[in-house]
Symmetry: C2
Subunit: 381 residues, 2 copies
């Protein structure tokens, strides 16, 4: 399935003329359709009603019409995925119902994609984002969680930034899974420079995605727009290390607006990069997660991933009869006591206690001292 060419061209045209994530554009497109809006922009250029959208049309197009832009993009290895294409990830449409944030919102007109990974195969993709000034603890945690999640078949979506983002992409690749980088600049650009190898690898073996026109520069406003795409491409967002004003909190906010799970990985309370995560968990906006398995349990279809709660080393005490356990509970920790005294504490007949003590001694649970029976070291809590 492929969107009609006229629709794609109209969307390229609108993308040339407008800033990514402008909720006014998304809203008119939803009402009137991209082709009618584009036709009206072209026809009424300069008129008051569409003035805000179209006034810079000429300079923004750089002299290329949409068909020419698509040709240039194709030569650079980029495709423009729009609604109606089989590759269009339907979950992006949920952005139409999420409240705007910092004057950004709505589904993108389309996504520029570089790389072989198709956006309709993201399944239970997980967004994993966090601080650019990550600690080695945070980077390790992000990498480990990403590896487990990706290995289980959930692609990892992140932003290719320094710190947690890069650790998440690399963890996913190390786990043998898929990963998607969503950029604030054009998908043909390399930013930050430190992500060059990663982005070039993803262009060959994953996907580099952007709502911004090819060649477009990274600007703060585009990071804010970009964050909503990260959250919308995934079925849940995990935050690893986000200082109190981190941009990653913006992505978590978007996941919340999309009514999708927000998860937070805790860290030491003395670590500033964990503060934002702790705040989010404390306020109830995020669920605490400590492993990839816990993330999968939350984002995967019910029953598919059920985490066994860690139960501690099963102590052999659990295999004692309940009578023997009762006796064991009554054995002193410190100074030994006679079977009669233990029998009184336990409320059990002394002969029965004596034989229980014999069994417990055989199992190494109790030991003798000059005063009688006491708990063996291994049986202590």
């Amino acid at each position: 399935m492929r969107a009609p060419e006229a629709e794609r061209l109209a969307r390229v045209g609108l993308a040339q003329l407008t800033e990514p994530g402008d909720p006014r554009v998304a809203s008119v497109v939803a009402d009137a359709g991209a082709q009618r809006l584009y036709a009206s922009v072209l026809a009424e250029r300069g008129e008051r009603s569409t003035r805000e959208i179209s006034e810079d049309a000429t300079s923004r197009t750089g002299g290329r019409d949409p068909a020419g832009v698509l040709e240039d993009a194709a030569r650079a290895g980029l495709r423009f995925v729009v609604p109606g294409d089989a590759e269009w990830p339907a979950r992006l449409d949920d952005l139409a119902h999420a409240p705007a944030l910092q004057q950004r919102g709505g589904p993108p007109l389309g996504l520029w994609v570089r790389g072989p990974l198709r956006l309709d195969t993201l399944g239970a993709a997980v967004a994993l984002v966090g601080s650019r000034s990550a600690t080695s603890y945070g980077a390790d945690a992000a990498g480990q969680i990403a590896a487990v999640v990706a290995r289980a078949g959930s692609p990892v979506v992140s932003g290719a930034a320094y710190g947690i983002d890069q650790a998440a992409h690399r963890g996913a690749l190390g786990g043998g899974g898929d990963t998607v980088a969503v950029l604030a600049c054009g998908a043909d650009r390399i930013y930050p420079e430190a992500s060059r190898d990663l982005l070039e690898h993803l262009a060959r073996a994953g996907a580099v995605v952007s709502e911004t026109m090819p060649g477009g520069a990274p600007m703060r406003i585009r990071f804010l727009s970009r964050n909503r795409i990260i959250a919308a491409l995934a079925v849940g967002t995990v935050l690893v290390e986000a200082a109190v004003r981190s941009g990653a909190l913006n992505t978590a906010n978007w996941a919340g607006r999309l009514n999708r799970p927000v998860m937070g990985v805790p860290g030491p309370i003395t670590s500033a990069p964990s503060q934002g995560v702790h705040q989010l968990v404390r306020s109830g906006a995020a669920t605490l997660v400590t492993s990839g398995a816990e993330v999968l349990e939350i984002v995967a279809p019910a029953g598919e991933h059920v985490v066994e709660e860690p139960r501690g080393a099963v102590r052999s005490r659990d295999r004692l009869t309940s009578r023997d356990q009762q006796v064991l509970d009554a054995v002193p920790v410190q100074r030994g006591a006679g079977a009669d005294s233990i029998a009184r504490t336990a409320g059990i007949a002394v002969l029965s206690v004596a034989s229980a003590l014999h069994r417990l001694h055989g199992g190494g649970f109790v030991e003798r001292d000059e005063d009688g029976w006491r708990l063996a070291a291994l049986a202590q809590e």
Copy 2:
């Protein structure tokens, strides 16, 4: 106010004859009263109906009647606080309504107390408990939280065990506040030996408390009983580092049964002693807390302690006009752009943008390169 002497003696007598925390005893005392139960135990000794409670009476009393026991205790610096005494902390009575746990439950018959701190002055006391095998991170966290809480006037209640308990008591003392140790053995005993200095200090300057008869040995069953007293003496319980089967989880469970706040201090996800805490927060049984101030906000009377959410360093960006912020948002991060290009991105007239850029340059938010204006390093997210 002081309980009638007959009541105190009856409770001493029952405490001699029964194991601390036996919910059957608490239930009969609640129905019939301690004096009637004690009289009936003495009168019907050996009869089937009270057999379980009284059969060991003779041997347990060690030849001393309750009045003699009280005399011995007073000589050892111990008082026996019972309901009806002004010092009786009414919140212990809540144990009458909490469901039993591991066959322990109900209010204690009385508490043996050593030390000048009165149990009716505990106010918004906070229980701070955790793993005996604490990490230095956990011990530091417990000590810091205890210091803040105690300095604010909330006594810290804990169990004098190795690790978190000792760090909590010491933190409270370091904060210049009160602290109460609740023991599983008799309040006149020193256990563990490593807490000797601490317990001796508390006997002079705080309080050492136990439900167990003076001289009584520490046993596993008494730790389980003791944990409910720790939870019941405090208005909320904070858990710092508790491995998956830690006894501290038992204390947290008691706080939950008492419908009192349970709080958990997070740690690295790689740290086994934090696993039990993370599990409790994840399940919703505990609220995540990261500081003494957050603990106080939860346990203190409404409005008394309101935590200012950490807001990050206030960036001077916040002091810009909203127009200048809009312009700043449209300035490229990487390669400079002309004022006209920035004006188109921002959707603001170019002259207005030019003057904004001038102000932003003065404030160090933007800088020039050969292509135009770009974000200065300090203004980057």
